[in-house]
């Protein structure tokens, strides 16, 4: 098998660090759940 060069752990293209990107994803999840709740309540 051919030997590849080491794979670098680059920073994300936005927000500076991966921790911040993960935080954004989790906040987005909370918003989606909240939106689902409000959507369900609005059309129950």
């Amino acid at each position: 098998m051919p030997q590849d060069p080491p794979i670098p752990d680059d920073p994300p293209p936005f927000l500076g660090t991966w921790k911040r990107v993960y935080a954004v994803v989790l906040i987005y999840l909370v918003i989606l759940i909240l939106a689902s709740f409000l959507f369900t309540r609005a059309y129950r």
Partner: protein
């Protein structure tokens, strides 16, 4: 299907495949054939991950489920972003740095050969079983809807998938997936817009939402916890998280997608894209089902959407009364729907409440008549516990969509089947060659030899899937059992990877025994309890970890020095 539909269908599928093969040229080494030379950009991996996960059944069945049961299935995906964040932070960099071809190869680096083999065999069993079903389920529905023989639809899908997967390897699979997802998105948007436009003029979009909500079809959130309820916010967040951790972290059909990334960052971005896009996408698909429901408030649906089964029961004496009840209830529901909209526009709350009651009563009567018709199918020698959910969306498409769009939506179903199936076949071949053949059978052969072996393995698994799909219908109700079997394996695999990543002192023998115990616990839970299958992964994972830790302690293994994580 008219001529224009055929042109749209054939053009879509041929262009997808040719584009995939064009992008896959030069896949002549193992690294390129199985991992695309680790050169894939994040967006291609992201769409390929999405395409592999979303089989045709996702589109056919999800819309039907929303039609009969509302949108609560969307909660199943609430755990996905959590799982993706965990995987990005832990698994993705480790797999990349270990430079493995398969997730199970890493287990040998971390534990030993027998743990790798056990995990590989578990994957081959689970994914092998589902490979046939991935082709069979949509092929069956398409054959019924289009009136084609089942063997023709199965063979068509199988032949196309096997050809481009064998020739182009993972690059062809990934780039075809990208095109397939584009066709899927376009087809679904067109289907929704057309559905809304086909409603009566006096029914505005907000009225459609109101009517869907009044019938409980917009129930995207259930806060009540229930172990036996598959879809609530808690089972979605906890059970769904474990399921997606297993699926995206331990299932080679998904792991292989992001191992093709040119960097750790690209692989992470592909998973995080799915974390953000999957819930809205599922919401959208479910919403289409809810709108098809509203459409059929005004345009009478058939008693059963599976016309072959409907024809089977039409000669029975019990059929006429059921059909009359259905007709009467439909008329009542249509009248109540129109009166409800009228009352809503006028702001007449008393009339709104009265019409809502009438509307819901009529809906219950329709549900009851449909349940009786399904029972008649069973009595007439049809499938036990017959449900026509999978036929609802395609029935709508073929009956009411304009010419040309029918071909597009049928292309969506074919595309979804091919993308899911090609990913499965490709990953099955990879595990067969890398974890079994190269590891235990023929070590140290040339790169060309392993490329050839990979192509043969792909051909083998492709033919196996097609042949298995041909026999699935003879298994009758076992289809359900096989589907359930597919969900029985992930927990023990996940437990093994949790041990690998987070329990550094645990050694191979303890992990091996833990996996067997975890599998036994899942099987016992499935056999002797009513616990929803979403919790199997949680239970299996917990048992693997607990047993492995206990065995490790009793064997006094790994106490001298911690294991090195690659």
């Amino acid at each position: 299907m008219r001529t224009l539909d055929w042109i749209v269908l054939v053009t879509s599928l041929v262009s997808i495949i040719l584009y995939g093969l064009y992008r896959a040229r030069g896949s002549n080494t193992v690294d390129r054939y199985l991992l695309a030379g680790r050169t894939m950009p994040w967006y291609a991996m992201a769409l390929s991950i999405m395409a592999t996960q979303a089989s045709a059944v996702t589109f056919i069945s999800t819309t039907g489920q929303s039609y009969v049961d509302g949108m609560r299935f969307v909660q199943f995906y609430f755990g996905l972003p959590l799982a993706m964040v965990i995987l990005c932070a832990t698994v993705v960099p480790v797999f990349h740095r270990a430079k493995v071809y398969t997730a199970y190869e890493y287990l040998e680096n971390r534990f030993d050969g027998k743990t790798r083999v056990l995990a590989s065999v578990i994957f081959l069993c689970q994914r092998g079983l589902s490979a046939g079903l991935t082709i069979y389920a949509p092929a069956l529905v398409l054959s019924v809807i289009l009136g084609w023989p089942e063997t023709l639809t199965t063979s068509m899908i199988g032949a196309v998938v096997v050809t481009y997967t064998v020739i182009g390897g993972i690059k062809a699979v990934t780039w075809s997936d990208v095109q397939q997802m584009i066709v899927i998105f376009v087809g679904l948007i067109v289907a929704l817009v057309t559905c809304v436009l086909l409603m009566p003029r006096e029914v505005k979009f907000t009225d459609a939402l109101y009517l869907a909500g009044a019938a409980g079809r917009l129930n995207a959130f259930t806060g009540r916890f229930d172990w036996n309820d598959q879809f609530n916010v808690w089972s979605g967040l906890i059970g769904g998280c474990f399921l997606f951790l297993s699926y995206f972290g331990c299932d080679q059909s998904q792991v292989q997608r992001y191992l093709t990334g040119r960097s750790i960052a690209e692989s992470r971005l592909s998973l995080l894209f799915n974390a953000m896009a999957k819930i809205p996408m599922q919401f959208f698909i479910l919403f289409i089902g809810a709108m098809v429901f509203v459409f059929h408030l005004f345009v009478q649906p058939p008693l059963l959407f599976q016309h072959a089964e409907l024809a089977r029961i039409q000669g029975r004496a019990e059929f006429a009364p059921v059909e009359q009840r259905f007709q009467k209830a439909f008329d009542a529901r249509r009248a109540a729907s129109m009166a409800l909209i009228e009352a809503r526009h006028q702001g007449d709350e008393a009339s709104q409440a009265a019409q809502t009651d009438a509307y819901r009563t009529a809906q219950r009567e329709i549900d009851s008549a449909r349940a009786d018709a399904s029972h008649l199918v069973e009595l007439a020698g049809g499938e036990k516990n017959f449900r026509d959910t999978n036929y609802i969306f395609l029935s709508f498409v073929t009956r009411y969509l304009p010419v040309g769009l029918v071909g597009l939506v049928i292309a969506v179903i074919f595309a979804a089947t091919m993308s899911a199936s090609s990913g499965e076949i490709n990953s099955l071949a990879t595990v067969t060659v890398v974890d079994i053949y190269r590891r235990f059978w023929k070590r140290g052969a040339s790169d060309h030899h392993y490329v050839l072996a990979s192509r043969w393995a792909t051909l083998f698994w492709g033919l196996y899937a097609v042949i298995f799909a041909g026999y699935v219908h003879r298994m009758g109700a076992l289809i359900v059992a096989v589907n359930r079997v597919g969900s029985l394996f992930y927990g023990s695999l996940l437990g093994c990877f949790v041990l690998a990543f987070f329990c550094r002192r645990v050694r191979g023998t303890a992990a091996f025994i833990g996996m067997i115990a975890g599998e036994a616990a899942i099987l016992a839970t499935a056999e002797f309890t009513e616990v929803s299958w979403l919790w199997y992964n949680v239970i299996g994972c917990a048992v693997v970890v607990a047993v492995a830790l206990a065995v490790n302690a009793s064997l006094q293994e790994g106490r001298d020095k911690p294991a090195k994580i690659a």
